[in-house]
């Protein structure tokens, strides 16, 4: 394997230029060092910071961009690869589902310039709709998947992935997990190498996947798998920690750190890649061992491959197939496997934890939208974004949420089912609408579905921390660009009822929604106010509750606004409400719902 660009840094050596980098920053650094020329992504936790970081490297070095969705991002990267430069697409695990169509075909085609896909899984579901294991996708698509265990490896594996991609004519996946992506660890960066662009290869038999060509490419893919198995068996990226005894551990990625934290003096094989399996290396390691314990986060990918090889592998009998690993989980697993003593389950402090679920921010423009929806008593097909938080009390007004862009087509299906007496409303954010909401809206118009689409336009991709998108008029690097006009776009799709409302005007929002619901056929209401956090943090003069007037009715508390809490005063035995002036941005929604006119702007 081509290792020219690799400088191995042993733990414990002097590291003059070391600095703490997150896994995402290290992946970006590795791509930059490898000479990447084009990089594209759609934001998604925990992968977002990869592209944000790449966007801070010099524009002369590479073009980095937000794409409308993950498939588009991968297709952009594929185009760059066709044109002979190194390219990267980054995404979260469920983003790979969106990009899968392109990935499956491109696996047959192979690369011209090296192409790397950085995929961040989310074991434990910190901020996702599932915890699927992307390594299975790698095997499905027959592309190798490298699994770094810390920041230094994230950098080096990403850099080497480009070499591997070109050497074996394959896209290469680098799999991170939330814990790697968002852990800072000591990293020694290297220098960027400039890679001369390769000429475009005019080879339709390789680059145009018609059945006749694809049939000839499939055997190449299988041959490539064998070559990769052999090369990975010899790769110095694998790591063997010697130990004693006849029990060995095979692991990969973040699980390695927990294994090393827990066990000393047990032989450990840390695989650089979970797919394809470095079979020769594994066989050598297994020689003389009675038991092989596989420690891998989520699905038994390595374990199953070992079992197919006929090796005495055990793993998921001791370690969970779901949730995130931690030192505790690994200890419990090794205890179940009989390698160490079980830890005591004693908890010395007996403290009842207070629930503190995530909530919409103070002044969030989504708040009024879901207050109005709840009052309408509608059947609400939701989508993915901050506004999914409206599923819980007190806003509690979302009935379904499946995946990015699902809401509108879900609503079409609900309407066509003909079983609902309530109005059917789809809610979708601006960024999600651009990601995958436009084709279903066309579908709704085309099939004349009697639904209302509520486009929650807060002018940013908020959930992932405030990224620009095609309707903000700014690129990843902050340059001015064309801006999608939602109203014009939606009218152009054939929607006749399109109204824009102010998210800070409860009454008009409610009235507009009622009119939209009364409209037969597709109606669209656009709520229009910027996110209070991004691109600029909004802070207006706060509101204050006149304690002498408050009747403790709790109407304002139904907003779920984190600036509202209980004061120490009572009215008829119920707490009056107080407003935290630090948190309040002065959106006035609480004053609009106040039944006793007791909420007013604070005097300066």
């Amino acid at each position: 394997m081509n290792q020219q660009a690799t400088v191995a840094v042993e733990k414990g050596e002097a590291r003059p230029k070391s600095r703490p980098l997150t896994g995402n920053e290290a992946i970006a650094r590795g791509a930059w060092e490898a000479g990447v020329k084009v990089a594209a992504a759609y934001p998604g936790t925990p992968s977002t910071e990869i592209m944000e970081t790449l966007g801070r490297y010099p524009a002369a070095d590479l073009h980095a961009q937000w794409s409308t969705n993950e498939k588009t991002a991968l297709d952009v990267a594929i185009g760059a690869s066709f044109s002979g430069v190194r390219a990267l697409a980054s995404m979260k695990h469920v983003g790979l589902n969106v990009a899968a169509d392109a990935l499956m075909s491109f696996s047959y085609i192979g690369v011209n310039g090296g192409l790397v896909i950085a995929v961040c899984d989310d074991p434990g579901i910190h901020s996702s709709q599932n915890e699927q294991d992307s390594r299975i996708f790698a095997g499905f698509a027959r592309v190798p998947v490298l699994e770094p265990a810390d920041g230094q490896e994230a950098l080096e594996y990403t850099r080497i992935a480009f070499d591997m991609s070109e050497e074996f004519d394959t896209p290469v996946m680098v799999r991170a997990t939330t814990r790697l992506s968002h852990t800072r660890s000591t990293v020694t960066p290297g220098e960027r190498i400039e890679v001369a662009p390769r000429p475009f290869t005019e080879s339709p038999a390789k680059n145009v996947m018609i059945p006749a060509h694809a049939r000839l490419r499939h055997p190449e893919v299988l041959k490539r798998e064998d070559m990769l198995k052999e090369a990975l068996s010899k790769s110095p990226l694998n790591r063997i920690d010697p130990g004693e005894g006849r029990v060995g551990v095979i692991t990969a990625g973040m699980a390695y750190g927990y294994v090393r934290e827990t066990l000393r003096n047990v032989p450990v094989l840390k695989l650089a890649a979970s797919y394809p399996l470095a079979e020769d290396l594994v066989r050598d390691f297994a020689e003389g061992l009675d038991r092989i314990i596989v420690v891998e986060e989520l699905e038994p990918v390595i374990e199953n491959a070992l079992l197919v090889m006929g090796l005495p592998a055990e793993g998921k009998a001791f370690f969970p197939r779901m949730g995130e690993f931690s030192p505790e989980v690994i200890r419990d697993g090794f205890a179940r496997a009989g390698l160490i003593e079980a830890r005591s389950g004693d908890r010395p402090y007996n403290v009842a934890p207070m629930p503190r679920p995530p909530v919409l921010c103070a002044g969030c423009p989504h708040t009024s939208c879901f207050m109005a929806l709840r009052a309408l008593d509608a059947r609400v097909a939701g989508d993915i974004g901050c506004y999914t938080l409206s599923v819980v009390e007190p806003l509690k007004s979302m009935d379904t949420c499946v995946s990015m862009g699902s809401s509108i087509a879900n609503a079409v299906g609900m309407a066509k089912a003909g079983t609902h007496t309530k109005p059917i409303i789809a809610t979708i954010g601006d960024s999600t609408f651009l990601h995958s909401g436009i084709p279903p809206l066309i579908d709704a118009v085309y099939n004349n579905a009697d639904i209302t689409v509520f486009l929650l336009d807060n002018h940013i991709t908020a959930m992932t921390g405030g990224q620009d998108h095609p309707a903000t008029g700014k690129t990843l690097r902050g340059e001015d660009t064309a801006r999608v006009d939602f109203e014009k776009l939606i009218r152009a799709l054939g929607v006749e009822f399109v109204e824009v409302t102010d998210s800070y005007d409860m009454a008009s929002m409610y009235r507009t929604l009622r009119e939209a619901v009364d409209h037969k056929g597709v109606s669209v209401v656009i709520s229009n106010r910027p996110c209070v956090l991004d691109p600029v943090k909004i802070k207006g003069p706060p509101m204050v509750v006149d304690q002498s007037k408050c009747v403790a009715c709790q109407s304002c508390m139904n907003l779920g606004c984190p600036a509202l809490t209980w004061s120490s005063e009572y009215f008829e035995g119920r707490h009056k409400v107080a407003i935290d002036p630090q948190a309040c941005i002065g959106c006035t929604l609480c004053a609009q719902v106040c039944s006793s006119d007791s909420i007013v702007p604070a005097k300066a």
């Binding site: 925990p46 750190g257 403290v351 207070m354 921390g465 009572y570 035995g573």
Partner: protein
């Protein structure tokens, strides 16, 4: 190298989204790196940002493997908010750990759900004194108040860093140098002053509790309120189905029935607040709250 020397230091920093948990942990990570340690600092973004609980594990030493601290193994827990500190207190090493907490309370709306007469916030009922009795070492200080008096609420984090500095072995000047890199230039003086105040406060005695941490007692002072039973009477003949009571009931327990007459659909949720009675333009709703006579003991 002995096992004790090899063992990394574990510091868990917790708080509420937006308080600066990540800034505090970045300062510690950079400081440890400057001192030649291997460092891992682990946090989770995403949903946590939206006012939920935020945590950051910082581990440093000659060699650090796991990015997270196991339960019962934190050398220090630093809490930027009181109840968040209690949420994570079982991560503290019960024999040797130090518990450092700001006494400020951030009571989320979610904790204010019991709206019945006499209902109280579901906030941590433990007092600072009760917690200090149980930990090996600890401080409950009014970092937010100290920072406010210095002129910038945001400096509460550096006050806590000052207290944290007494539990770790780095020289004071090295702390201040790193802090200087992480705070806005025009706030350096306030942050240095905050750090020193926090440090001196902690040096003045173990298990010290700020006097105004008494505010934390409020949470379990039960102000006695007579319990009541509520009856809702709706005069059907007078109701014209205008929907006002249904839309404005804070507990959302009313609805219009098939004949478009208001009715109490979810009586268990009714708190007897009388909003519907006051708002009904036709005087069709009457609420009666009758005090419950406690059974004789």
């Amino acid at each position: 190298m002995s096992e004790a020397m090899e063992r990394p230091k574990n510091v868990l920093i917790v708080g509420v989204g937006g308080q600066g948990v990540i800034m505090v942990s970045k300062v510690l990570a950079q400081l440890s790196l400057n001192h030649g340690h291997d460092v891992k600092q682990s946090e989770v973004h995403g949903m946590a940002k939206r006012g939920g609980g935020v945590f950051s594990h910082v581990r440093f030493g000659p060699e650090v493997w796991s990015p997270t601290i196991a339960e019962g193994e934190a050398d220090v827990v630093v809490a930027l908010e009181w109840a968040e500190g209690l949420r994570w207190i079982n991560y503290l090493n019960p024999e040797t750990g130090t518990f450092i907490a700001d006494c400020q309370r951030i009571v989320p709306p979610f904790a204010c759900r019991n709206r019945f007469r006499g209902g109280e916030a579901a906030y941590a009922p433990e007092t600072p004194e009760e917690i200090m009795e149980q930990v090996h070492a600890g401080y409950v200080l009014d970092a937010t108040g100290m920072a406010e008096r210095l002129g910038n609420l945001r400096a509460a984090n550096t006050v806590l860093l000052g207290a944290l500095s007494t539990a770790l072995d780095f020289p004071e000047d090295d702390w201040l140098e790193v802090i200087g890199h992480f705070v806005p230039p025009n706030t350096i003086d306030i942050n240095i002053a905050g750090f020193r105040e926090g440090r001196e406060w902690a040096l003045a005695g173990n298990k010290r509790v700020a006097e105004n941490a008494a505010g934390l007692h409020q949470s379990h002072v039960v102000i006695h309120q007579d319990r009541v039973t509520t009856t809702v009477e709706i005069t059907e003949e007078w109701c014209k189905g205008c929907d006002i009571c249904v839309k404005l009931c804070p507990e959302r327990c009313l609805r219009l029935n098939d004949r478009l007459v208001a009715e109490l659909a979810l009586p268990d949720l009714c708190t007897g607040c009388r909003m519907c009675e006051w708002l009904c333009p036709d005087f069709a709703i009457a609420i009666t709250n009758t005090p419950v006579r406690e059974a004789a003991e």
